[in-house]
């Protein structure tokens, strides 16, 4: 199987950081991510509970 190519940060990424600096996060972004994270967390917890037989 072919090994996936690795991704590294280079000098151009510093320029990209400078170009984009100061862009505000979209409205409600944090809440949307947290909602999904909670779902993932609950699924993982359910799996662990099932594995532990609780």
């Amino acid at each position: 199987m072919k090994k996936p190519r690795s991704v590294e940060l280079d000098d151009k990424d510093i320029i990209r950081l400078a170009k984009g600096a100061g862009t505000p996060l979209p409205e409600g972004f944090v809440e949307r991510v947290l909602e999904k994270a909670r779902k993932i967390s609950e699924e993982k917890a359910a799996k662990r509970r099932a594995k532990n037989g609780r």
Binding site: L9, A18, G20, A21, G22, P26, V30, L34, R38, I40
Partner: protein, 189 residues
């Protein structure tokens, strides 16, 4: 025989996951803007795609990183780039050339030159240089770098602004970029 539970076993699963979610929230409030703006540039200003990729990045961070690494900047940027590159490799269609009849329709860049003296630009300046704290740089080098890459001034134009030879500006900015990259990837925070 009495068995002493390990701290991990002893902690209720629910509380543990709640702590991770809280840590993610803290990290997003502190570093979310940086990751999103970096992705905006990678996607050439496509904010919808950048938002989607930023969400994917944070969920991967949540799934795979330890909570104490949620705020590790170089890891976040590296993960964001990885998510972007993976998406581009999977894409079967490529962007195509758009034809326009009116020049006014052309979208403007993220930071046009007109913004050079705009007070709101100081937020971008502060956010960018904070990436390398506590390290400080020569103010002239910082200014040259900013004019060259943030506002797309030519080296010739910068030379007349800061009264330095073009070759000096080129050398100093190159060195600065290289140093910034080294700092970003070598430090944990």
């Amino acid at each position: 025989m009495l068995r002493i539970p390990s701290p991990r076993e002893d902690t209720p699963i629910r509380a543990q996951s709640d702590r991770r979610v809280e840590a993610l929230k803290d990290a997003m409030l502190a570093e979310g803007g940086r990751v999103f703006s970096y992705l905006c540039v990678l996607t050439r200003g496509d904010k919808a795609l950048a938002e989607e990729l930023a969400m994917e990045t944070w969920l991967k961070v949540f799934n795979r990183f330890k909570a104490e690494n949620f705020k590790t900047r170089w890891l976040l940027f590296w993960k964001a780039k990885q998510v972007f590159v993976s998406r581009m490799r999977k894409a079967t269609t490529r962007s195509f050339v758009e034809f326009r009849t009116q020049m006014d329709d052309l979208p403007t860049g993220l930071s046009p030159r007109d913004n050079v003296d705009n007070p709101s630009e100081s937020a971008g300046w502060d956010e960018f240089w904070a990436n390398f704290e506590p390290r400080t740089f020569d103010p002239t080098d910082m200014k040259c770098f900013w004019l060259l890459y943030r506002y797309d001034f030519t080296i010739n134009e910068i030379s007349s602004r800061v009264s330095l030879p073009e070759s000096t500006i080129y050398d100093r900015v190159s060195k600065l970029v290289h140093t910034c990259r080294k700092i970003l990837i070598s430090r944990k925070r």
